[in-house]
């Protein structure tokens, strides 16, 4: 005990390079114990003596110290639960606001708000907020960071992070009495006790001015971008947007239909070069590509009435058709039927009476419109030469648009052949049925 008494009052008298500092008012008494077990016993005695403003200090959490000191369970778990719960709700709200409310994302027609796909992020938000509240909560409840504390003025106390076990009773406690308290601590088996004094110079408790300066300056600096953003949002400007990352917004390239000084005519578009035809686009077979028969007589050009004699030997055609003879056979008719059913039936219908799905819908909507009846024996189509029919398919007529872009010329001829077949079939008489079948149809 004798060396312990020598240590009394020497708290500020350290030879660690500081000026020996005078002591301020008394803060409390610090007692050191040899083992964790003795610390727990001493803490129990201090608590039983009725002290409340005291604390134990140890290099690791000592088992059994909480009940010995009578520490109440912290409410930190509740704070963390609230943090986690608000994280989950906040995460869901964030996603709802962004993807369902502010701007609904239509992805393959699926609902904009579908909870299962929003759960992972809500879950992560819950964890994140719970973690943040536990991390900041523990320091807030522990009143840390507090780099300055009277206990740090004791050299002995530096061992608390190594192998020292201490009890400190503060003067603020109503039962504090310098002698009695010390006697209590020593009676509990301390190996040393010492008085702890506050720093006499209140300036030492404050943060150095230069650190405060740096904090204030950097805080102010950090606010600058927000200030700029706030100003920009609340003022009008005729200047164009500032593009921090121009990226693909402005690209060094020419776009069509714009002015350009580079060329004498001042236009960006260069157009086709005169007297040239792109490879495969020389449609020199007038009958095949336009349905027009040239004649040198007075009649001039006229629509062809038959079919082309052969396919032109042009690279625009599939290889097996190039130069092949044009035969009106079942293969051609089946091809024609196939194409007709795809492109023509929506308006003209499968039987070509002009009552396909489009007119049907028009009627369903209260309108009244039929497409052309292609097989009406008194109608214009039946009378048309093949070439004109081909031209109508290619370039359209009245409401009908041209199909040259979708249907290649050889398929258009197949359609013409199929339409002729339909006309014949729809206007057939009983005699047209083969004799062997006539009996079955009346």
């Amino acid at each position: 005990m004798s060396d312990a008494h020598e240590a009394n009052g020497n708290g500020g008298d350290a030879d660690n390079g500081h000026e020996p500092a005078a002591n301020g008012a008394l803060y409390g008494i610090l007692a050191e114990y040899d083992t964790p077990g003795e610390l727990v016993e001493a803490a129990r005695k201090v608590r039983d003596a009725g002290y409340t403003e005291f604390d134990c200090y140890s290099p690791f959490p000592v088992h059994g110290i909480d009940p010995a000191m009578g520490i109440k369970r912290t409410i930190l778990p509740l704070v963390i639960f609230i943090g986690g719960f608000s994280g989950a709700v906040g995460g869901l709200l964030l996603q709802w606001y962004c993807n369902a409310y502010s701007w609904g994302w239509n992805i393959s027609g699926k609902p904009t708000w579908s909870i299962p796909a929003n759960i992972p992020i809500a879950y992560e938000c819950a964890i994140l907020l719970a973690v943040l509240s536990s991390f900041f909560g523990v320091w807030a409840f522990n009143k840390l960071p507090q780099v300055w504390h009277p206990l740090f003025r004791s050299d002995r106390f530096a061992r608390v992070t190594d192998d020292g076990f201490f009890i400190g009773i503060e003067k603020a406690d109503s039962r504090f009495d310098a002698d009695k308290t010390k006697a209590l601590l020593e009676g509990a088996g301390s190996i040393a006790t010492e008085n702890i004094y506050l720093d006499p110079d209140p300036e030492n408790k404050k943060m150095p001015k230069w650190i405060m300066g740096i904090i204030i300056a950097s805080t102010a600096f950090a606010l600058v971008p927000f200030a700029i953003a706030a100003k920009a949002r609340n003022s009008k400007s005729s200047e164009p947007h500032i593009h921090i990352f121009p990226d693909m917004d402005f690209q060094p390239k020419f776009k069509s239909d714009q002015a350009n000084d580079l060329f004498p005519d001042g236009r960006e578009n260069r157009g086709e070069i005169t007297n040239t035809v792109a490879r495969g686009w020389l449609e020199d077979d007038e009958v095949f590509f336009h349905g027009i028969e040239h004649s040198t007589g007075d009649a001039g050009d006229s629509w062809t009435t038959g079919f082309p004699k052969q396919y032109p030997d042009s690279p625009a055609l599939p290889p097996d058709l190039r130069g092949a003879p044009f035969a009106v056979d079942m293969k051609l008719l089946e091809r024609g039927q196939n194409r007709f059913n795809i492109y023509c039936t929506p308006c003209h219908g499968y039987d070509a009476h002009g009552q396909g799905m489009v007119p049907t819908r028009v009627r369903a909507g209260g309108g009244n419109w039929d497409a052309r009846n292609l097989v009406d024996p008194k109608g214009p189509v039946v009378q048309m030469p093949n070439g004109q029919l081909f031209n109508t398919v290619s370039n359209g007529y009245a409401k009908m648009m041209g199909y040259a872009a979708q249907i290649p010329a050889w398929d258009r001829w197949a359609i013409v052949a199929y339409v002729r077949t339909l006309e014949r079939a729809q206007n057939a008489s009983h005699e047209d049925i083969p004799a062997t079948e006539q009996g079955s149809i009346k």
Binding site: H63, P77, F81, P116, I119
Partner: protein
């Protein structure tokens, strides 16, 4: 913390007649409820189809409890756990239910083996018409199925009886080497256990919907079973304490750990069940979403919602708290609650497959099996036989567990017993 304690001198750790009582109670339940179930099943007039569905659900419920406790025993040895030493003998008793449960399971295995066609659709000749099912009929043949059933049972019974026997041997000899032997055996035991558990749930429950498949199914069921297993463990421990046994050895610290495991597996089940649902829902492929379609819409959606709230959200929020796990009445409430919902989980997985749909193509009608046709035709159709069959298997489980509750209820000479007795939460 390496604090130890000695067994309290006044501790009653001999089972006495308690095990026999439990077996008798179980047998009484089995006898009365069994007869009632058969009558109710016959009255259903569907060739015992409803009865057998309820039977499979009850069987799965009881077996999952034993599987969960076998896992605890294996984990205990593998990780040299401390807290669980005091409850290990009770867990071993619960794994003692395997033989009787496997015998009881013959109640649905034998019909399938001898040509019963209405329980598993793959055993029905109509299944051959479906190319997806026809592809796997080599795996799902009644005889191979029955053979696998026997193998799974043999594995479970072998592992559980080995660990229970060795543990009792230590009571006699006090040889600490037995602990080392068991720890060595727990490694391979765990591997065998994992493969067997995975395949058991695949075979018994997943093949009820023979078109559907999910690789996580066995894992989800193992997790769900452990919720029930720890709940049952807590209840049996409490029952023993009410009868004056182990009152000094098992305290709220141990209940707290049982509660923690219940909480952990409630979370784990939610995790695996959500993973399975989310991936199939997001992938949106008809052969997978079909299984969920009949559960998310129509009658079954209410059961699904009940599961979500009752099996996960409600217990999850409350079991998070320390006090819920330490105050015995509240732990008991949640143990019973989770056992009921654990049964509902089995029900939810199996029973939607009960309605088989006949689809007509012109003049021919085809039996399309489970999970087919309009959703409106599928009903929960809850019947009393569902409950009585469940009670039958609670009876079987008690019979099997009672058999194991004999002699010492605590491994008195286990070297870690002192640590376990002194166990304290952080």
């Amino acid at each position: 913390m390496s604090l130890t304690k000695n067994l309290h001198p006044d501790e009653k750790y001999k089972a006495g007649k308690l095990g026999t009582t439990m077996t008798l109670v179980g047998a009484a339940i089995v006898a009365s409820m069994g007869i009632l179930s058969i009558i109710l099943g016959a009255a259903h007039g569907d060739h015992f189809k409803r009865f057998l569905y309820a039977y499979v659900i009850g069987w799965s419920f009881a077996v999952s409890l034993s599987i969960g406790m076998l896992w605890l025993v294996l984990l205990h040895h593998l990780t040299r756990s401390r807290w669980s030493t005091v409850v290990r003998r009770i867990a071993e008793a619960m794994t003692g239910a395997f033989p009787i449960l496997w015998l009881a399971g013959l109640g649905f295995i034998l019909p399938v083996l001898f040509g019963y066609q209405d329980l598993y659709f793959w055993a029905n000749p109509a299944a051959k018409a479906d190319p997806v099912i026809a592809h796997k009929l080599s795996w799902l043949s009644p005889s191979f199925f029955a053979l696998r059933y026997v193998i799974y049972g043999a594995v479970f019974i072998a592992i559980s009886s080995y660990f229970a026997k060795k543990s009792r041997e230590q009571d006699e000899s006090g040889d600490p080497k037995i602990s080392v032997t068991l720890r060595r055996a727990a490694g391979p035991g765990m591997i065998l256990f994992a493969f067997t558990t995975y395949l058991t749930w695949l075979d018994i429950l997943m093949t009820l919907a023979p078109r559907w498949y999910s690789t996580i199914f066995g894992v989800t069921f193992w997790g769900s079973g452990n919720i029930g297993a720890f709940a049952a463990l807590g209840l049996i421990v409490l029952w023993l304490q009410r009868n004056g046994r182990l009152v000094h050895s098992i305290n709220e610290e141990h209940y707290h750990d049982i509660g923690k495991w219940m909480f952990a597996f409630t979370f784990f089940w939610a995790y695996t069940a959500f993973s399975q649902f989310m991936l199939q829902w997001y992938g949106n492929m008809p052969d997978e979403t079909n299984w969920y379609k009949y559960r998310m819409f129509g009658d079954w959606q209410w059961v699904t919602i009940a599961m979500l709230v009752g099996y996960w959200a409600f217990p999850f929020v409350f079991l998070m708290s320390r006090w819920t796990k330490r105050i015995v009445p509240s732990l008991v409430f949640f143990a019973v609650w989770q056992l009921v919902f654990h049964w509902l989980d089995m029900y939810w997985n199996a029973m939607p497959q009960y309605d088989w749909t006949t689809i007509s193509h012109g003049s021919t009608t085809v039996n399309a099996g489970p999970l087919a046709g309009p959703i409106a035709m599928h009903h929960v159709g809850f019947t009393p036989v569902d409950i009585t069959c469940w009670l039958v298997f609670i009876g079987f489980f008690l019979m099997g567990t009672g058999r194991g509750l004999k002699g010492n209820l605590i491994p008195v000479k286990d070297p870690t017993l002192g640590l376990s007795l002194a166990h304290e939460q952080l």
